[in-house]
C-alpha cells in the first residue's frame, strides 16, 4: 500500500509541472501588454519600457516562466497590481466559501442520489425505478441558472424561509451562514444527484447479477447486508470518480451559482480577474485550482485502492 501511494505521488510531479506550464502559457499568450494594462493608455513609451523592465517582461518567455516557478516554490504567487492583494491572500479569503459550498452540495447530492440509486437497482424495472430514472433524466437537462432562480422564487420570495442572496462568514454566525448557503448548495446538488443516481444505479444493477450476490443470497444474508455491504462497495468506483470530478470542478468555484447568489467565492474572483485583466491573480488562481484538481484525482485513486483490494495489490 505504501509503495502504491508513493508511486501515485510520483506521478503527480510531471502533471503539476504540465499544469503550471499551461497556466503560464495561456496567461502569456493573452493579447495586450501587461504594462499597458497597468499604466493605462495615457502612458508614455518610456514609462511602459521602464515597467516592462521592472516586471521582467522584456525577458524571453522561458526565463520568465522559470522565474515565476521559482517564486511559486518559495510561496510567492504574485500580487494583484490593482488591489495590491497577494494571490495567496485573495485565495485564502475566498476559498472557504467555495469549499463550503462544494462540500454542502456534494453531501446533499449524495444524500439524494445514493439511496435512490440503491432502491432503484434493488427493484430495477419496477414502477419506482422507471419514475426515478425519468425524473433524473429530466433534472439533468435543467440548467443551473434556471433551478437557482426557481429556488429563489420558491424559498425566498414566496415562502420567505431563506434569504435570496448574500453571505456571512461561518466564523461570525454559523447558523446565519448556513441559511445563506442552503439555496446555492441545493442548486448545485440538484444538478448533480441525477448523474450520481444514474451511474450508481446501473453499476449496482450489473453487480447484482454477479455470482457472489447469488451466493450471498444463498448464505441467507439479510437483503440490507447484501445491498450495502456486498453490492454497494464493488459498485461505487464510478460513483467515486464522478464525485471526484464534481469536487474538482467546484474547487474552481461555481461561477453561475456564486454570481446569482452573490457569494464572494473563487468563481467570482476568477471572473473578476478576467474582466479587469488582472493577469497575476488569474494565473495564480488557475494554477491553484489546477493543483487542487490534481490533488482530488490523487485522492480518488487512493479511494479506488481502498474500495477494491485488487487495485491495491496491483492485480486489476
Amino acid at each position: 500500500m505504501l509503495g502504491f501511494v508513493a508511486r501515485r505521488l510520483l506521478y503527480l510531479v510531471p502533471v503539476l509541472i504540465a499544469v503550471s506550464l499551461l497556466t503560464f502559457l495561456i496567461a502569456s499568450l493573452l493579447p495586450g501588454d501587461l504594462a499597458y494594462t497597468i499604466l493605462g493608455d495615457q502612458a508614455t513609451p518610456e514609462k511602459v519600457a521602464a515597467l516592462r523592465q521592472e516586471m521582467g517582461l522584456d525577458q524571453p518567455i522561458w526565463v520568465r516562466y522559470f522565474g515565476w516557478l521559482g517564486n511559486i516554490l518559495q510561496g510567492d504567487l504574485g500580487r494583484s497590481f490593482r488591489t495590491g492583494q497577494t494571490v495567496l491572500q485573495a485565495v485564502t479569503e475566498r476559498l472557504p466559501i467555495s469549499l463550503e459550498l462544494m462540500v454542502l452540495a456534494q453531501v446533499i447530492a449524495l444524500a439524494i442520489g445514493v439511496p435512490l440509486a440503491i432502491i432503484c437497482a434493488a427493484r430495477s424495472g419496477g414502477s419506482f425505478d422507471r419514475f426515478m430514472t425519468g425524473t433524473a433524466f429530466g433534472m439533468l437537462s435543467v440548467p443551473t441558472f434556471l433551478s437557482a432562480i426557481l429556488l429563489i422564487y420558491l424559498f425566498a420570495v414566496e415562502l420567505r424561509w431563506l434569504p435570496a442572496t448574500g453571505y456571512v462568514p461561518f466564523g461570525e454566525d454559523p447558523a446565519k451562514n448556513l441559511r445563506f448557503m442552503v439555496l446555492p448548495a441545493l442548486t448545485l446538488a440538484l444538478a448533480e444527484w441525477p448523474g450520481i443516481m444514474r451511474v450508481l444505479r446501473s453499476d449496482m444493477i450489473a453487480t447484482l447479477q454477479e455470482d457472489y450476490i447469488a451466493l450471498a443470497k444463498a448464505k441467507g444474508l439479510k437483503a440490507s447486508r447484501i445491498l450495502f455491504v456486498h453490492a454497494l462497495k464493488p459498485s461505487s468506483l464510478t460513483l467515486v470518480t464522478i464525485t471526484g470530478i464534481n469536487i474538482g470542478r467546484l474547487i474552481g468555484g461555481a461561477v453561475i451559482v456564486e454570481t446569482v447568489f452573490a457569494l464572494p467565492g473563487i468563481g467570482r474572483l476568477l471572473v473578476g480577474a478576467i474582466t479587469t485583466r488582472d493577469l497575476i491573480i488569474l494565473q495564480g488562481v488557475v494554477l491553484l485550482v489546477g493543483a487542487g484538481f490534481v490533488l482530488i484525482n490523487f485522492i480518488v485513486d487512493m479511494l479506488y485502492a481502498m474500495l477494491d483490494p485488487r487495485i491495491r495489490h496491483g492485480h486489476a
Partner: protein, 331 residues
Amino acid sequence: MTESTLLSVEDVIVDLPTPRGNLRAVDHVDLTVGAGRTLGVVGESGCGKTMLSRAILQLLPKKAKLSGRVMFDGQDLLQLSPEKLRKLRGRSLAVVFQDPMTSLNPVLTIGTQLIETLQEHLELDMVAATKRSIELLAAVGIPAPEQRLMQYPHQLSGGMRQRVAIAIALSCEPKLLIADEPTTALDVTIQAQILDLLAREQRRRHMAMILITHDLGVVAGRTDEVAVMYAGRVVERAPTPALFKKMRMPYTEALLAALPKIDAAPHTPLPAISGRPPDPTRPLKGCSFSPRCRYAWAQCHVEKPRLEEADSPGHQFACFRPIDASASAGA
C-alpha cells in the same frame, strides 16, 4: 429409499421467457434425496441441471416461472415466506457454485465472508465466529488459516478459493449441500482433491449432498444415486452401482462412452455424441434424444417416453428402446 426423505422435488417445471419464446429449462422433474445420502445429477451443458439447483435454492432469475413442489425437511420451499427461506438458506441448505473466481466477493476478505454467515445463523460473537472460521478453513485443507482470514479472494488460487467456498457452505452444518459443478472451473489436478474433500466432509457431517456435474466419471464412486438429465427431464435414475452395471437409456450409454478411457490405445477417436441437444424453446413431440439416438425407431419420434420403473428396484428410465443388459455390458 426407505430412510427419511430430506428433499423431494415433485413435478418441478421451470419456464424462462426469452425473446425467442418460452424456454422450458426444467420439465416435470421428480427427485428425492434421503438424509445423509448423495445424489449425482448428470447431464451436458444446457440440460437444466443448474436451473434445477437454482429452483431448489429459490434463486432463479426474476423472470423465471416455477411450478411444482420442493419439499425440504417437511416444508414446501415454494410456499415459504422470504424471511423463513432466508433463515433456511446457508443454515440447513447450502450451495457451492461452479466458479470460485466469481462466487466470492472480490472486495471482502475471506474472514468477512465466512464470519458473516456464522453470525447470521448461529448468533456467535466475533471471537467465537473467528475461531470457528479458522477451524473450518483448516478442515477444508487450507494452510495457515489465521492469515487467510485477512486475505482477499484474488490472493488465493482457484482451488483454494473453492475450498473457501466449501468452508462457507459447511459453516453452519447444513443438512443438504448442493454442489453445482464444483470442479468444472478448476485445474484437472485439483478436481479430484476437491471432490474427495466434499465426499469426506459429507460423510463426516452426515450431510446430504447433490453433486451436479457433466462428468459421469465424477459421480461413479462418490454418490448413492444418479439422475441423468437431458433437455430438462430426468431420463434415467438409479442407484449408482445399478446404473453402472446396467444402464438402460441410450443417452446414459452415450455419455459414458464419450468419457476418455485411460486404457484406450493412443489416438483412439473419442465417440462423441453427434448433433446437439434440441432447442429448448422448440420442444420436440417425441423423445428429446431421438434425433441423436442410434436406437431410435418410429415411435420415439412421435411419442414422449415416461420415466418408468425398470426391472431392478429404484431404477427408472424413460425410453422405448432401452439397451438390454447383455448389450450394454461392454460399454
